[in-house]
Symmetry: C2
Subunit: 325 residues, 2 copies
Amino acid sequence: MEKVTMADVAKEAGVSKSTVSQFLNKRYEYMGEKTRRKIEAAIEKLGYQPNYIARSLKQKRTSMVGIIVANIVHHFSTEVSRAIEDFFHMYDVHVIVCNADDDPKKEKRYIEMLRAKQVDGLIIFPSEHNHELYESMVKEGYPVVFVDRKVESLDACSVITDNTESTYRAIMNLIEKGHRNIAFAVQPLTVSPRIDRLKGYKKALKDAGLEINPDYIVEADIPELKWKLGQLFSSAKKPTAIFAANERVFLAVMEFIKEREIKLGKEMELIVFDNIPFVHLLEAPISYIIHPAYEMGKKAAELLYEQIQGEDIAEKKFIFPSRLV
Amino acid sequence: MEKVTMADVAKEAGVSKSTVSQFLNKRYEYMGEKTRRKIEAAIEKLGYQPNYIARSLKQKRTSMVGIIVANIVHHFSTEVSRAIEDFFHMYDVHVIVCNADDDPKKEKRYIEMLRAKQVDGLIIFPSEHNHELYESMVKEGYPVVFVDRKVESLDACSVITDNTESTYRAIMNLIEKGHRNIAFAVQPLTVSPRIDRLKGYKKALKDAGLEINPDYIVEADIPELKWKLGQLFSSAKKPTAIFAANERVFLAVMEFIKEREIKLGKEMELIVFDNIPFVHLLEAPISYIIHPAYEMGKKAAELLYEQIQGEDIAEKKFIFPSRLV
DNA sequence: TTGTATGCGTTATCAA
DNA sequence: TTGATAACGCATACAA
């Protein structure tokens, strides 16, 4: 097993460890041609592979960063992660993705573990329930970027989307098409995107002079969502349109619609705020609000990289506009 | 920045580093109650966090494993990766996922980098073009598990699916439904699953007494696939069914079908060999062969974990049956 | 141009 | 029950 070390190479080549180290770090300038050859030969012969762990210990840099996603089942998360990986790949930085599963405890544990592993920085889809921890990292100057969700009152880098405005436009669009009874389906209002999307919904109704019917705001965990929708649809004033606040809600709504055999497009209009894979293959006429996930991930990665490089970040908050399709 | 080390804790608590180390490794047995208290207090006060990198260097174990997927855009890959992550999460082992992008050079580079980072083991969706490298790892006794694709003549752990048999059953099914002109769309036949699926296709036709028309075997890279299908569909004997050999082929076929406005189910039957997310929401009647991706990932993780633990693996090759839906 | 010595933060061995 | 001290594999300042 992998036992050959720099010392072995040095012995084989008949030089000292430092010289081998020089060689490995490509500082050939001060090195005899023959020395170089000897080292090359020795490395080849022994099949030497440098040990990055040892190097990391010395350099205090691991060339690893961590991503803590709120919930990996969201396609959006994977798109963002992919962008981040693509970016860091250019710098030979590896990315460790952890799934907090919407659980602040898990999130905290991951943050601590990744920091113990000395990752050079962290990109977090925050649960928003570990405020003290976020704050301490930022204060310490540890490289962090928050994605997707706002972290109030923290002077940290963050990359989010314009939830309120996009939702507003989407709802307005429905109203212009003549819809008056628009339902808003959402998971519990515990994180900023959901809250902000609801804000957009309410604002649109208000601006259009429509009254906000609390029954139309279906707030429930995924397992109960279908049941709650069932209640709403059994009532007198059935909605003619549904706004699904994210991918998971969308799936629940779709199942509901399928079970009830509701005709999409005819009886019911559906808008979803999230990137859904293959949605373009669906025949049903569904509108969706797309986040620029890849760009957001890229920007987050850039912000993190700059922090790791010790650069000053001029602009810390980025809001990417979403697009209605 | 994260400067507080074991030595600081030791000084603060008025004990030696070794004692602190004992404490951290929960070897309380030989430790005075008061000493323990002092150390606890010191850790708390200083906000000490152990450095896993240093520990790894000493222990020659990083609690990290790597996954090298052939192509991350396959949903199958992400499902398998998720299963692996879930498994290793139980042991506080982190997983680094790398995307070889079907490029043997990239694959080789990743293998080397991950090993340089001293990951404890590797799960690989092999490109099958780095045979010497695979072999050297296996010979060395380095923990590796191969997934999805066969690595011939190597006594290594592997987890694959029954490509030939599943395809055979699917094609037979089509034949029983009366189809005679069945196209087989596939990317270049460079890796074993594609080859094995084609085998199943041919065998089914042969067993049914049908002749194999080479024109019906559409082998092309994704960008050219639509064009080649176009050719086939312009010819005299249009197929009445298409077998899409994987997810990416399926997407190309779907686009083709949409552009040509072919009616799925009526004019054309489509079967795809891969796990496609949300395919159940599609109205079009598509059959699909599902790999037990999660189970495969779990098994691969188990096999790797056992190797890392230095256990002997009794059964190294696992073939999971796929299921036609 | 190359070698020596020291340190990075742990763990492990052995005395005390 | 606790404490020196030597590794682990590499990088680096400094000496030669």
